[in-house]
């Protein structure tokens, strides 16, 4: 039959032959924020193959750390997960303190817990809001951006910066809470809860949003663990793993909070988990403020925590320590340490090696979104091009953290 057709000059198979389309999505594409490139092979609109290229935001973070004094690394850590930058500060400081073997005062621990949770909220606001934005719901996005702005006002009042906080130091913090902070928190959280409710009403039961999110980008529990998932994406599959619970650090063991878990591991569960975590974080912040004792915020050891400016400009000994810290850096004992904190995206681990000098000999970060991004082909292969958008967003690749 085929031969006959060919003889007549018409080949049905040839005429109805389809080709796949290869297309570069990114690095400058509206959906590939955080700067990433997808090399897609499309059959119509179905994703046949996807190649994820990361590294567009690589700035040699780990190598750069080796050239900085121990405290000089903090501004660089801010730029890892820039939507929740103080969490990176806390992780790094805690690892360095583990290496030294000191424990920060109780008030400092409470403050760190509090500001970490605020950072987590900010990260989730950004992520969930951007997810809505990319599905076309700009209004919902702006609602969460407003909530985040208010939150950033609070953070700004504490540490003077809105995005890159640079608030934590080895052995303490840069400064204590400002006056009237508690009242501000009360005011801002009341407004945040209202915005949260509005957002929830607009999207959670919105049929279009449900259709876009449900049953897209799903992953099984087993696969999620095998691919090294952590954070909301792992919890969405039903695994209640949270560093704050599994290996409590700071004062998380004293906090009363729930760990939301999903059931199916799809995008909608990831969304729900993040939404609930925002509420839990708000409650943790309030608990911190309630339980927070008075007292110093820095360790009283000038070898690790730089003396205050007042002291070092009036007294001899603090001046010497100040000089030594600035010129040589703290001489952290030889050794290595790993400490993980629960970042906005999952387990954010720092592995530090010291050779006794004033600079880290090695600083390695375990970024949660690297593991998540590596599983992206698994999540979207065979689905429609449009499904890549919510899946990629809920994976929440943060270029600064993934590429370092």
């Amino acid at each position: 039959m085929k031969e006959e057709n060919r003889k007549q000059g018409y080949d049905f198979h040839e005429a109805s032959r389809t080709e796949t389309m290869t297309i570069n999505m990114g690095p400058s594409h509206p959906a590939t924020h955080g700067t990433v490139k997808f090399f897609l092979t499309l059959d119509g609109e179905t994703i046949e193959d996807i190649d994820v290229e990361i590294g567009y935001l690589h700035r040699a973070f780990e190598k750069e750390c080796e050239a900085q004094k121990w405290n000089g690394v903090f501004p660089y850590t801010d730029r890892l997960d820039y939507t929740a930058s103080v969490l990176n500060n806390v992780g790094y400081a805690m690892t360095a303190e583990k290496l030294i073997g000191i424990e920060v005062p109780e008030r400092c621990q409470y403050l760190r817990t509090m500001i970490s949770e605020m950072a987590r909220m900010s990260g989730h606001y950004t992520n969930v809001g951007a997810g809505a934005l990319e599905l076309g719901a700009l209004t919902a996005f702006i609602y969460f951006i407003e909530a985040r702005e208010l939150l950033w006002d609070l953070i700004e009042s504490v540490c003077g910066a809105r995005l890159t906080h640079n608030y934590v130091r080895i052995g303490g913090l840069t400064n204590d809470l400002p006056d009237g902070f508690r009242e501000n928190v009360k005011r801002v959280f009341a407004k945040n809860r209202k915005l949260w409710d509005d957002f929830d009403i607009m999207l959670t039961k919105n049929r279009i949003f449900l259709d876009r999110m449900r049953d897209t980008g799903g992953i099984s529990q087993k696969d999620a663990i095998a691919w090294g998932f952590t954070g909301p994406c792992l919890r969405a599959t039903g695994v209640p793993y949270d560093v704050r619970r599994a290996e409590p650090y700071l004062v998380y063991d004293r906090m009363n909070f729930d760990i939301p878990v999903g059931t199916t591991g799809d995008n909608f569960d990831r969304y729900l988990v993040r939404m609930e975590e925002i509420k839990q974080s708000m409650s943790i912040v309030e608990q911190c403020l309630e339980q927070m004792p008075d007292g110093p915020i820095n360790v009283d050891d000038a070898r690790w925590r730089m003396p205050s400016k007042d002291d070092s400009s009036t007294k001899m000994e603090p001046l010497i320590f100040h000089f030594k810290q600035v010129i040589e850096g703290p001489s952290i004992p030889v050794g290595e340490a790993y400490q993980a904190v629960e970042g906005a995206n999952g387990e954010l681990g720092y592995y530090l090696v010291s050779n006794g000098g004033g600079k880290p000999w090695k600083c390695r970060v375990r970024p949660p979104s690297f593991a998540l991004t590596s599983a992206l082909p698994l999540l979207v292969k065979g689905s429609l091009l449009a499904d890549l958008i919510p899946t990629f967003d809920m994976i929440n690749l943060i270029g600064g953290e993934c590429d370092r």
Partner: protein
Amino acid sequence: MDTIIAFVKQPLVMEVLITLVKIGFIFGLTIGFFAPMLAWVERKQSAVMQDRVGANRAGVFGITVIGLLHSLADAIKLIFKEDFIPRGAERGLHTLAPALAVIPALVVFAVIPFGGQYTLWGHDVSLVIADLDVGILYVFAISSLATYGVVIAGWSSNNNWSLLGGLRASAQMFSYEVTMGLTIIGLIMYYQSLSLVDIVAKQENFWHWGIVWHFPAFVLFLACAVAENKRVPFDAPEAESELVAGYFTEYSGMKFVMFWTAEFIEMVSISGMCVALFFGGHHIPFLTQDFLLNALGDVFGPNWGGVIVMLIGIGVFITKLVILLVLQMTIRWTMPRFRYDQIMKLGWKMILPLSLCWIFLVGVGILTGVMPTP
């Protein structure tokens, strides 16, 4: 001078002049007024909905007129922008496509009545450019031509994203064409006419307004019309997070704005269709035109009274138009967008069967007399 007046007073010349005035009015209303105003409304209403300030910068000597001058500033900027045609694009078609998108959106207005019939100084004035017996069919025929502009734009740009957008648009617009036609069959059965002028005339009594008996058809029609216009939640062909900008990714300057304008004008014509079909056109509820003519005719004389009634009619029509436009804007700024296959599913598996059901129900209603026809 006298010869000119005599020439103008010939009935045929008068007819032509009146038609030209009407065309000029509609042209000014859509391109001149609604297109820039909707650009402003889109910015300002979204700002209000999102707790923002919105456009308020562009101004002359510090006078900003609540951001109204932004449309003017935009126009000036876009006229002077580089008109970019990508390498490898079909130059002719690439240039033609924006026009193909705008023209159907504009000419649909020819059959939408924006007022009633009036007798002024011995001339019959009917406020519709072309009173076609098959007005509704004309609307569908013309609006399906708009597909060409979009598809050609997508194909001729030599860009894969544009191509995907064009393909999505062709499938979507074609599907909703069919469905949109079916959603108002019930209405046609009810009014027993395909002429929009007839349909509007039959809605003089408020209880015969389309919306009273045909509310489900209105919802289905509006959904189809928004899908046809490719606005959120049906904006898969231009989904900015998926396809960059879809079929007009490779357009810049005024050509880009023509797609934009087409979208806005189509919004106006959707609203115009809805007003004519469901909201009684220029009619005021519980107030007949004759009553107004008599009341105002006593005060101002029959001719000037007629002019005032005509202006009131146009005002009522535009008010209804604006309300429906605000409704469309509100939908646009509330909803996320559908996935492409979900749009198709909604069209073929939900709206189509529902509109068939509605046709059946209307048929039964008319036959049994439950639904009294006007």
